[in-house]
Amino acid sequence: MLELKNIHWKTPENEEIVKGIDLSIPEGKLTVITGPNGGGKTSLAKLIAGLYTPSTGQILYNKEDITALSITERAGKGIAYAFQQPVRFKGLTVRDLLELSAEDTLSEDKLCAMLSTVGLCAQEYIDRNVDGSLSGGESKRIEIATVLNRKNAKLLVFDEPEAGIDLWSFSNLIKAFEDLKKQGGRTIVIISHQERIMEIADHIAVIAEGKVQTFGPGSEVLPSLLCKDKKCACPMNSIKKEGC
């Protein structure tokens, strides 16, 4: 469904961050990308959604070369991206964003259903501005909702959806991802540091230092990431470095 072929990316200051990524994201599956901070996961997600353009390499989406396509064109083809750090606006409400995402006007009931999936009580949020008045967790959940409900989304990329979300909502969120998977027809990529999210992954990729260190079925990769005492998932294990 999505094939990344020898992708390199440099910052405007010419520092190479993504250093030759080859990765094939399987259709209709849930792939988790994990790895240490600063390893290049978000950069890769932005390369997929078109926010960054690779310096070399090729991105194939359903066999079509989309490397040169704009963000808008990729969105039109069904690629959706939930930002690690949600964007804040001056004057756009939760309803505005969800309607733009769904490309439709939405009834209160529909909005309610969308917001409750991410653990928000709709009545209180529909007309709130998506600005600095929302808490970190609130804006993160709204960001996730814009992607879960994106019209005709076929490839959904979530960048650390767990960040800043309380435990109760986190369980709901896992359920939302599982439901999404069950519905079928969509390919899901979740960038995450959370063992519980890795547990529902069909495949796991570990990215560190701008490269894919490991890629394989979740059932095989996850155990290798776990510390001996199984208390944490440590991407460092798979890149054979000290520390956990």
Binding site: A49, V87, L92, L100
Partner: protein, 305 residues
């Protein structure tokens, strides 16, 4: 009333076939309709062009419409309207002005609105300005608003200029007695070679009076805006002024908020932020399928909403 007036009226107010209740429609310096209601009396002035609107204490949540239209080039309209709001009245005033130019000469409306607001009265004042027409003549609106607020009165001024006004010079002054609260929301959009100047001067002379002034503006094309606000606090009072502007293209905005605290207990704040639309806002909307132009449009619409 001519067809241009009808069109302008529907842009600046909720005019359908007519207005309910009290109204006065000014068209090209003349009167195209006037009606008083039981509690809102509208009378012409005899010494100058304009009307006196007397709002009785018995008016409660009543609406009065005072729109003005200039429907062709070569009209320079000047009007003095006085609003006398009795103690305890509660009124919604829908003013607003449309200027239409169809030739080379200027079409101009200068409205001088004075408000005498009684104790405990509540006024919501809505003012929308628009310029239309294909004429090359300038479409100019220079409104002057003078507000005297009695003790514990409340006024909300919602003023908006959407498009098409070549040049505007907006002057608002207010003096607040004890406990009076003034809320001003200004929204301005200029494009092309347009120019807008907004000047506010609010004097908080009564104990516990307060003003909250928020101006949001967008300067597109080669347009130019000047924002100047002065809040003077000479007693225990609160004042807040905020100027938030978005630049698009070669738009220019100068913001100069001034605060004069003349008393230890005057608490005055100002904020001003001017800049282009944050790139990440456009990018987020592009990931939802909008083009950059559509995204910019949406963000501006939301900002001025």
């Amino acid at each position: 009333m001519n067809s241009v007036t009808k069109e302008l009226l529907s842009s600046i107010s909720d005019f359908k076939e007519g207005f309910k209740g009290a109204y006065n429609i000014r068209e090209d310096s003349g009167c195209a309709g006037r009606q008083s209601s039981e509690y809102i009396k509208i009378e012409p002035k005899h010494d100058k062009p304009g009307i006196v609107i007397r709002i009785s204490a018995k008016a409660q949540q009543e609406t009065v419409y005072i729109p003005a239209c200039v429907t062709h080039s070569g009209v320079s309209d000047l009007v003095y309207n006085d609003f006398i709001v009795e103690d305890g009245a509660d009124v919604i005033i829908v003013a607003g002005c449309g200027v239409h130019s169809d030739g080379e000469e200027e079409a101009r409306h200068n409205g001088i609105h004075r408000f005498m607001i009684g104790k405990n009265a509540k006024v919501v004042y809505k003012e929308k300005h628009i310029g239309t027409g294909k004429g090359t003549g300038a479409r100019n609106i220079d409104p002057v608003t003078e507000i005297a607020m009695g003790e514990n009165s409340y006024m909300e001024m919602d003023t908006m200029q959407i498009s098409g006004v070549t040049s505007t010079n907006r002057t608002t002054t207010a003096a607040l007695a004890a406990g009076a609260k003034l809320v001003i929301r200004e929204r301005l959009l200029t494009d092309g070679e347009e120019y807008a100047k907004s000047d506010f001067k609010v004097s908080l002379y009564g104990e516990d009076s307060g003003v909250d002034l928020v101006s949001r503006s967008v300067a597109k094309g080669n347009s130019h805006q000047d924002y100047h606000s002065v809040i003077i606090g000479s007693c225990r009072c609160t004042g807040h002024s905020e100027c938030d502007a978005i630049l698009v293209g070669n738009g220019v905005v100068n913001a100069a908020p001034e605060l004069h605290a003349e008393n230890l207990d005057a608490s005055l704040i100002h904020e001003a932020a001017i800049g282009k639309i944050a790139g990440e806002q456009i990018i987020k909307l592009c990931t939802l399928g909008l083009t950059e132009e559509e995204a910019e449009q949406k963000i501006i619409e939301g900002f001025l909403k």
